[in-house]
Amino acid sequence: MITKIGREKLQEFVAGLMKSGRLFAPVKEGKGTNFKLITDPQSVTLDFYNTIQSPKAVLFPQSEDLVNYNISHDGIASEPAPIDDGSRIILGVRPCDVQSFEIMDRLFNGSGIVDPYWSARRSNLTIIAYAFDRADPVDFYNAFGITGSDEQGSDILMVRDTNSFLFKAFTDKGTKLLETMPFLEKGTADDEKRMTEIVDKGRDIATRTLDTAEIHKRLAGIFDSPYWEEAAAACLNCGVCTYVCPTCHCFDIQDETLFGEGSRRKIWDSCMFSDFTLHASGHNPRTKKSQRLRQRINHKFSYYVENFGIISCVGCGRCTRSCPVNIDILTVVEEAR
């Protein structure tokens, strides 16, 4: 069943979603758009191509307290910080980004010791995907079999029609959420047709692509190649690629204390930084930027494939768009031979 809402009623829809859980949705910020926790329905925009930052922070915040402690003359008192696991709704996630959640699940939720922070929030997440209606020349999600209007992994798929937004639920969670929105109109036969047309159009959006066959073996084979020096020559090791990436998951654990009050935090880290692997002894296995760029590429296109059977990249194009020296991950992988 299709439901719809007029574009002018978007705020009502947003306000309705806010009643069902904490809502994260795109908000204009400077020259771009980012997912934010919504407190004002008016702040939400659905007029954007894709957000600058990926939606990963909804499940994996940039900084999160693990333990709060107090250091005094009497000793140290500590208390685990409660896991913020309330129900979350995320509106307007592009289909390629939806896939990033599934990729991260394999690490945080599906192997070895489960990460309780990711896991608790993941099971309480409702995803409203938002189909692309055009392609940015940088994107390459087609390389991973993802199209511009895939519903895979989402609870609801939303598309934009001329004067309205159309919704189709794909899970019970999605169906139930839409049922709680009394002002959504039931779609007509015409709307059904429009939805199919728009989804089909989304499936036909052509992005750049990449031959991913045996890619992990190809990369393993050129580990010692001078190619990496060349590929990383312009790299500033600023780390922006890892911060905007929907699948970069590396983090640090740090204690921050002020006047005895403090917390141990899990915070995003980046393999682009030289201290990422710096031992206390001074030894560092990755002193050169070429080694660090090689690590980032290999982690996504080789090691992750070996460990989890999937490439840890969704072709969203964020790293390429954000890179200050125009390093394009697709080109780096393509030319790695």
Partner: protein
Amino acid sequence: MENPYIPMPVTVDKIFIEVDTKEIKTFRLAFVNKTDEERFNYRPGQFAELSIYGKGESPIGIASSPTDKGYVEFTVQKAGIVTSELHDLEEGAQIGLRGPLGNSWPLEFLEGKNIVIVGGGFAFTTLRSLANFMLNDEQRSRFGKIVMIYGARTPGLLCYKPELKAWEDRSDMETFVTVDKGDNNWKGREGFVPTVCKQVAPSSENAVAVICGPPVMIRFTLPVFFELGFSKENILTSLEMKMKCGFGKCGRCNVGHKYVCKDGPVFSLAELENLSREY
């Protein structure tokens, strides 16, 4: 579900100063909660994160043997922020412990075999755990001959001195302690570990060599063992890496697609040959 990021409280029960420079100390930790102690089932070769709130955590190999009951020991070199703070602690202090983490010395694989333990300097801690485990009355019969070769730069830098003496006196193992350079009081062996390995020439027949030490020692020791006929599958070592989470999520301790924290720290030479040389 237990939260794997939250340390268990432990008390520093005893501190042993191992070396004359006082830069290496062994911390004997006792669990504050009995349930934590029961849950902390470890094997020789595993490590744990030592935690001091306000300073951070540091991954350290477990130096005691699981056969030692009521405590767990860590031998720590003063190096960074956490280990320096540890070195300033006094007995009775409370810290945190997260673990046990990592794989271990492969006890089932070692069973029934002759074991050659080679250690250098401070990289001897989990070998000491393994040795004490194998030498335990209930475990000793599971293993064949035990040869131990351990060296340090100077006599003062040898760790676990009382134990070295006891091992030398045991009839069910052969112990060779050496120093690069002795002093006036030193009556023992002098010579680098690789040289002593060559002199002792342990048989590779049904044997596994377990080797930990500084890179330079490893580099010169390996050819000796190859010459003695040890295969790469039968030479084991333990790697060190910068770590944070300790269970394969935080992404920093990988060598190729293996994570030293969860796939290691113990690897055979054959396994390491299949990984990129980035450690």
